[in-house]
């Protein structure tokens, strides 16, 4: 198996909580290393308390049985690791994608994923999973979920 094949296989694993994006698009696959028939996958959780952590690890092991999966809990993941394709998929599914960190620090603008309006208000910093906040769009009068920028 080549590294490219491993990446392609991992592209097919959906995020268990937001299945419109794959683990690769979510940016949680930190590295794939293949040598001498040995496959080593480094995987970082989004949030440390993510209950899907074990589930994702098992999904990788099932998809690439020869892989040895290492969970890395350093600070290498941020929402900036979500790929452009992943962001667009989140948006079309009704999740406002996280703004890049540098942008979010300088502005408090949050855009509605449905109508694009920036006239939105915070309903709750916390939502159904650790990575989401709840907002309301005053433009199209629609509540929506905002992927937190971290």
């Amino acid at each position: 198996m080549t590294a490219e094949q491993v990446w392609a296989a991992l592209e097919e694993i959906p995020d268990p909580e937001i299945p419109v994006v794959s683990l690769v698009e979510l940016g949680v696959i930190r590295s794939v290393d293949v040598h001498d028939g040995h496959v080593h996958v480094e995987f970082t959780p989004t949030f440390l308390g993510c209950p899907a952590l074990e589930f994702m690890k098992r999904a990788i092991e099932e998809k690439v049985p020869e892989a040895e999966v290492e969970v890395v809990t350093d600070d290498s993941w941020s929402t900036d690791k979500i790929t452009p394709a992943g962001r667009e998929k989140l948006r079309t599914a009704g999740f406002a994608p996280p703004a890049p960190r540098l942008v979010q620090i300088r502005s408090q603008v949050h855009r509605c994923p449905y109508c694009g309006s920036t006239d939105t208000t915070l309903e709750n910093l916390f939502g159904p999973t650790p990575c989401r906040s709840l907002r309301y769009c005053n433009g199209c009068r629609q509540p929506f979920e905002q992927f937190k920028t971290i």
Partner: protein, 201 residues
């Protein structure tokens, strides 16, 4: 270092447990969600730090006798009213920020924890802003202040006092447990004790 990390992990586990007690009974639905989510994060932080200290995080988290836990009494208190609960959340987040900032350069997982914490701090600050002039809240902060100091090593307490705007007093130190901890420990370890070793979930 291990003693410090065990204290940190025990703090996060126990405050996560205490915060989760508001799930379903918080004064408003948003806070049910917020406290549940914060509790989940804190317990996740505890797990990540336990994993640094032991091969089996669950064994370290749940197989110790009550007197072996290193958590600060602040996180153990069984608080049944909102003013005290918010006072603790706010004091704990300020103290935890000072502690994590001191660790983040040498400990990768501390940097990861620090990345998640701004949302807890925002939540605590929003509530602090809302309640800071309420007499009941100010009284709760004063009451919990000696406990909050006990979260940090003595060398970090001046920074906490400056942030909170109160004078340093004698701290309620780690080591002794609050009377309510025995019942909490019993509840927290119940599932683990009732399942045979090696049970799969």
């Amino acid at each position: 270092m291990n003693e410090l990390l065990l204290g940190l992990a025990d703090d996060e586990l126990v405050i996560g447990w205490r915060d989760s007690e508001w799930t379903g009974i918080a004064p408003m639905l948003e806070e049910d969600v917020a406290f549940s989510s914060i509790a989940q994060n804190e317990i996740g932080h505890a797990r990540a730090v336990y994993e640094l200290l032991a091969d089996d995080a669950d064994a370290l988290a749940f197989d110790r006798a009550p007197e072996e836990y290193r958590c600060a009494p602040l996180v153990e208190l069984h608080l049944l009213d909102w003013a005290h609960t918010i006072a603790r959340r706010w004091l704990y987040e300020v103290a935890d920020e000072i502690r994590i900032a001191a660790l983040r350069d040498e400990l990768p997982v501390a940097a990861k924890i620090d990345r998640e914490e701004p949302y807890h701090r925002l939540h605590a600050e929003m509530w602090h802003e809302r309640l800071k002039d309420e007499p009941r809240f100010r009284e709760a902060v004063r009451e919990l202040w000696p406990y909050a100091l006990g979260v940090l090593d003595p060398g970090q307490r001046a920074a906490l006092a400056a942030r909170v705007g109160l004078d340093e007093v004698d701290a309620v130190e780690r080591g002794a447990h609050d009377a309510s901890f025995a019942a909490l420990h019993d509840e927290m370890t119940m599932v683990r004790r009732s399942a045979p070793a090696g049970a799969q979930w």
